[in-house]
């Protein structure tokens, strides 16, 4: 499936990626090449094949419902771009 510039812009929006307008053509070409390559998958019949989401047949382990983490908020927020009074700051959302 070939993607055009408008497809790239739409996908970039879904992925919340700012793409330089001068790069859109190149991305369209690269992504189309990759999808064309991936289209080989259609050559094999997969009816009744169970999708494999994970390499090992395992079930999620359960643990005791007890607190194991200590409060390290200050430690974690020390590497945040902007915090105030223990809160992460982002641009105003509600006017």
């Amino acid at each position: 499936m070939a993607l055009g510039p408008s497809d790239v812009e739409k996908i970039a929006h879904l992925a919340r990626l700012a793409i330089d307008p001068t790069d859109v053509e190149t991305y369209a070409r690269n992504l189309s090449d990759i999808l064309a390559f991936v289209d080989q998958l259609e050559s094999v019949d997969t009816r009744d094949v169970t999708p494999m989401a994970h390499p090992l047949d395992m079930t999620q382990r359960l643990r005791e419902d007890v607190v194991t983490e200590t409060d390290r908020r200050e430690h974690f927020q020390a590497i945040a771009p902007a915090v105030d009074k223990g809160l992460y700051l982002v641009p105003r959302v509600i006017e």
Partner: protein
Amino acid sequence: MIEKSVRELSADLHARRVSSEELTRHFLSRIARHDGRLNSFITVCEEQALAAAREADIRLAEGRAGPLTGIPYAHKDIFCTEGIRTSCASRMLDNFIAPYDATVTEKLRQAGAVMLGKTNMDEFAMGSSNETSYYGPVRNPWDTERVPGGSSGGSAAAVAARLTPLATGTDTGGSIRQPAALTGITGIKPTYGRVSRWGMIAFASSLDQGGAMARSAEDAAYLLAAMAGFDPRDSTCADRPVDDYVAHLEDDLGGLRIGLPKEYFTGDLDARVGACIEAAVKVLEGLGVVFRDIHLPHAHLAVPAYYVVAPAECSSNLSRYDGVRFGYRCENPRDLEDLYKRTRGEGFGAEVKRRIMIGTYALSAGYYDAYYLKAQQVRRLIAADFRNAFEEVDLILGPTTPAPAFRLGEKVDDPVTMYLSDVYTIAVNLAGLPGLSAPCGFIDGLPVGMQLIGNYFEEARLLNVAHRYQQETDWHRRRPPGFD
């Protein structure tokens, strides 16, 4: 000192013939002298390394030391290290100092290994040439105009150039084995779940696996032994005992059945690489191994299936980089959406963006069945090929890569051609199996690697076969010229 094995270095340390501090200073000075030509390290932590070395010397003096105590290693910059930057070779994490240690980091510290620094890699481990790093490409010590492979290219180049005896790596589609092959070292990607992924920055969570890179299988066995094991903090980590890799190194190979997949020896393979593999077959036959041809009928679909599954998981995993809690944030965002978009647009490089977009597309409404579900079904067929093969043989042998190291810049503008350099390694990740690459020859001065693939949790067997092979050959002892 630089040609000694881990076992020999450990014996010297235990006998107090050398101190860990001396050993560490020696490798730090080699990094200072040679790494300008390679760019294999993003961060060298001299101060912390020397402190760890002195601590190791105390342990050695007090008789509390193990086989890795006091041995220097280089850590791929994808493993979190508390207090030392973990960049994942991305602008996004250029300022990221993890507030905790990865399980692997912690285990290696407990073993007394001395971390020299953090190695360069493809950005977020997405690449096969180490050219997608924000910190510039790594160069191959065998020819600095060529790539070392990727994504663990820094670890591979550093081991090959004897800047460190050991290095960690991670492998999502070949990122340990392919650079190991292109730089003439030994690298093992264990079974999915054998090494904890906790604190290892995620790319594609159903494929990512940490492993060991070293000059020899014996050295890799020591490192992997210290890395492997159950970790309750990683919900996909295997809760089963770790085999004694070192104890099995000398096991006899008589009667071992190894399969040669017909699909790996076609026109896509450089005939000179094929000849190196054939020569390796002869050596192993001399050790009693019995070879037979096998089939992996869906092998050609591994790379296409991977380039749906891995980008899909990547687009989900990398959604966490939003400029809010840690990492890069764009200047003066107009609003929240602008903050997200410009942070991600500026923080990620082109290959990471390509993969996020492919994954976003493959998972989007209307395309999910055609791409993601289809790829997961093909993944099942690929895993079934291996399961069938392992009913006939104990191991599989083939090339690690179709050709030796390519030139810098040769494939950067053509993603699909780049992806095909992992054509023999990717299926192993889709199935979750262990794989090892070991040097088996040279073409025009460039190393060639062979790949051994084992059944689930057969790491000891892979290391055993590679070790016995290395006792008969000296490819793994060759040192790149100019790194004396």
